[in-house]
């Protein structure tokens, strides 16, 4: 039987003070503290710290923790939220909530066995969960939606009893924003500014991935982590104590990936990589960093990788493997809900046709709303089940692990020629992918640029006697272009689907000249080179520039845009971008942009591009690109 003694507790406190235990890396990690210039702070201001100043003082929090853990304190005495009405939970001793803290303290202090509460209820719960290993789950980008490129990460708690075909009933542990039902622009703004609360939640794995695999068309990658059963146990203990913790959630920095990394660090403080990401945490980058650590023997953290393909990927692959007649039959099946007898197909081919049509309707149903196409699907299901067991062709396409894609930030160093003017340039891209770059592991034929800045140094001509007015807009060193975002999403039209393609770009050119582009239309796959896509869009533009007579013009225009993108070969990418703008009150503007990208090796590219300006001058630039993780 346990019972606390004031004397012993005071003794623990003085031991902790003697060793300044609050500086221990594990204590810092358990509090999800971040190191500032002079002090520590933790974003979890609600539902976690025991001392009122605990979120900014590891010391006060540690002393308060020892005081409360080793005295008669129930969860009820510290729980201020009125939402929790579960009395059997509230009556438990607080050691039963702060499992990881308690466990850690027993390893660093001489805790008397009498002072350890058995926590039967909690132990029974853990036994049910039976988590013996952990995987980091990465929900990759939706192959048809470039804006989802950042992906999402969460943890899977693995029960070895589920190993044979039942891993879907394992549990997913997620850190996410609780947003309620609100939607619209406010949703994005609130998410960027940290108005939502982030918290940990647990759901069956199949329920968690269903949202990703089916609804969003994301492939799932499971990175099984090399943690000992004791470390996994400690991880679960820590997640239990984080259960009610709340922190402001920032979509780009203090997000799912950041806190998942922090959680892994609490278990193994040597990992110590979360704080390197502080300002912009891209989920796939955290996976890459863990892989990097893995190549270091002592921290071999990723043990193995597994892949689950999304319904959308499954559908696209099934379709691409059909022969011409089968493809025709799919179109008929989608329309007539059966495959007419006059199609000369074997039962196996017939089964493949029906399964592809079934997947087609399932993808559409998930995209539109879950209750659509119920009858269409059902008719096809009846047809397929009547064919009985058929061995359908297994898809053999090589998987593209996202961690092998190029890194998301980049530095470009280049030189170029603008009319007669030489310049050298330095460009920084915060994220994420150029459309001409090798698209292994990313969304093919997409451009996703968020936050980039190009600075140029112009070599002004000295020789001419008269002032060369044509170059008056060029200062020696200037900010050439700041791009807030530039997204291109080319979703091809297929015989079954008419997807729209679009692009949007917002930038500021030197001299605070805005440059806004917006276009939408349709794109098509073209069977030349390795693979190519061409988009026909209608574009609108709002910008300002000098014309050829040095007059400053506001250019608001509208016109056709043709964008051709091609993988010429494994390492060569190419784009040709043609606009014809009909400009309000000014001369029309035919604009071209062509760009080659050659991949030297992973993360190193060379780019050459050429484009013309409204003033009639053209510009050619060669750049060396180094991709890295910021």
């Amino acid at each position: 039987m346990w019972g606390f003694s004031h004397l012993r507790t005071q003794n623990y406190i003085s031991q902790a003070q003697k060793f300044k235990l609050w500086n221990a890396p594990q204590w810092i990690k358990l509090g999800h503290y971040e190191k500032g210039w002079f002090s520590y702070s933790s974003p979890f201001t609600k539902g976690f710290f025991l001392s009122p100043a605990g979120h900014k003082s590891p010391e006060l929090e540690l002393l308060k923790t020892i005081e409360l853990l080793f005295s008669n304190t129930t969860i009820q005495t510290i729980e201020t939220s009125s939402e929790i009405t579960d009395t059997s939970y509230l009556k438990q001793h607080i050691q039963c909530r702060y499992l990881a803290r308690t466990k850690w303290l027993t390893t660093v202090l001489n805790i008397d066995p009498q002072d350890i509460v058995p926590c039967h209820e909690m132990q029974a719960w853990k036994k049910q969960l039976n988590g013996k290993s952990v995987a980091l789950i990465f929900a990759a980008a939706d192959m048809g939606n470039a804006s989802s490129s950042f992906g999402h990460t969460f943890l899977k708690i693995i029960n070895p009893e589920n190993a044979a075909n039942k891993d879907l009933i394992d549990y997913g542990m997620n850190y996410a924003a609780t947003t309620g039902d609100s939607e619209g622009v406010l949703y994005a703004l609130k998410g960027l500014l940290g108005f939502y609360n982030g918290q940990f939640a647990m759901l069956p794995y199949h329920q968690k991935i269903r949202e990703y695999i089916n609804l969003e068309g994301r492939d799932i990658w499971e990175y099984h982590l090399n943690l000992t059963p004791e470390e996994v146990d400690f991880l679960i203990d820590h997640l239990v104590e984080m259960e009610l913790a709340r922190a402001p959630y920032y979509f780009f920095s203090d997000n799912c990936s950041y806190q998942i990394l922090k959680t892994l660090e609490a278990v193994r403080p040597e990992i110590n990589i979360a704080d390197r990401f502080k300002h912009f945490v891209i989920p796939i980058d955290t996976v890459k960093k863990l892989h990097e650590l893995s190549s270091n023997y002592d921290l071999k953290i990723i043990a193995s990788v597994k892949y689950k393909k999304s319904l959308k990927t499954d559908y696209l692959q099934s379709y691409s493997q059909l022969n011409m007649l089968q493809k025709k039959a799919v179109s008929t099946a989608v329309e007539k809900l059966s495959v007419p007898e006059d199609y000369e197909l074997t039962p196996q081919e017939r089964a493949e046709v029906l399964e592809t049509a079934m997947k087609y309707y399932s993808v559409r149903a998930f995209r539109d709303s879950a209750n659509t196409f119920e009858n269409e699907k059902y008719q096809l299901y009846l047809g397929r089940s009547n064919l009985g067991q058929q061995v359908v062709t297994k898809q053999t396409r090589k998987e593209e692990p996202p961690e092998e894609s190029h890194d998301s930030s980049a530095l470009y160093w280049g030189f170029g020629l603008r009319d007669q003017l030489n310049f050298s340039s330095l460009k920084f891209r915060n994220a994420f992918h150029d459309i001409e770059q090798k698209d292994f592991g990313t969304v093919a034929f997409s451009h996703n640029e968020m936050g980039s800045l190009e600075i140029r140094y112009n070599q002004l001509k000295q020789s001419t006697n008269s002032v060369d007015t044509s170059q008056s807009e060029f200062k020696n060193l200037q900010i050439h272009r700041f791009t807030l975002l530039n997204l291109v999403n080319l979703n091809p039209v297929t015989p079954l689907d008419t997807y729209t393609s679009w692009r949007v770009s917002a930038a500021v050119m030197s001299g605070w000249k805005p440059d806004l582009d917006l276009a939408a239309g349709y794109s098509f796959d073209v069977d030349i080179f390795q693979r190519s896509r061409i988009a026909y869009m209608l574009a609108v533009k709002s910008s300002s520039a000098f014309d050829q007579f040095e007059n400053y013009k506001y250019l608001n225009g509208l016109g056709p845009n043709v964008l051709f993108v091609s993988r010429l070969s494994e390492n060569w990418g190419f784009s040709l971008d043609l606009y014809y703008y009909l400009i309000d009150k000014n001369a029309d503007f035919f604009r071209y942009k062509a760009k080659f990208n050659y991949t030297l090796r992973k993360n190193f590219d060379v780019q050459i591009h050429s484009e013309n300006g409204y003033d009639g001058r053209s510009e050619t630039q060669a750049q060396l690109v180094w991709n890295f993780i910021l």
Binding site: N165, A176, A188, P204, H206, Y212, L215, F251, C256, Q389
Partner: protein
């Protein structure tokens, strides 16, 4: 007295809820908006009044965040019914194999047998386009699909 009545009513409705399955319908996200996609599923959608805590809170099919053993199949079917129906019609798939394993099939041969039996009983298990999850599970029993791997 009032308290007792409320308690009876509450337990009564609770028992009914149990018979009606796990009632996950409203909690399962059926559609994501474009904006939600933009931020890459970094959100916990609202789960209504249900608490999906880690260690406390109880609903008809879960206790402290963990699905009750005797409710595993019902819960799994409610979440994945669309995909299970499709996989049952084609006679193969990861979710169908999971359902086989939840029904006690262990070896690959057993799972194949379950999948084939489920496919040939498709019309019994899913008699109409709108079949409820509760009927789905009951029909699996009626068609003796649920016990393909019992006593084998």
């Amino acid at each position: 007295m009032v308290k007792v009545l409320v308690a009876i009513l509450f337990t009564g409705s609770f028992a009914m809820a149990k018979d009606a399955g796990c009632g996950l319908g409203s909690m399962i996200i059926t559609q994501n908006t474009k904006l939600m996609q933009l931020f890459a599923g970094t959100t916990n959608a609202s789960f209504g009044s249900q608490t999906f805590g880690i260690t406390f809170g109880t609903s008809g099919c879960t206790s402290k965040g963990i699905v009750k053993n005797d409710k595993q199949i019902q819960y799994f079917v409610e979440v994945n019914q669309d995909e299970l129906t499709r996989e049952m019609a084609q006679g193969h798939g990861e979710k169908l194999s999971t359902l086989a394993a939840l029904n006690g099939c262990a070896s690959d041969t057993q799972i194949l047998a379950f999948n084939a039996k489920a496919q040939s009983s498709f019309k019994t298990i899913v008699p109409a386009a709108q079949t409820s999850a509760v009927d789905f599970v009951n029909n699996m029993k009626t068609a003796s699909v649920a016990d393909v791997c019992h006593g084998a």
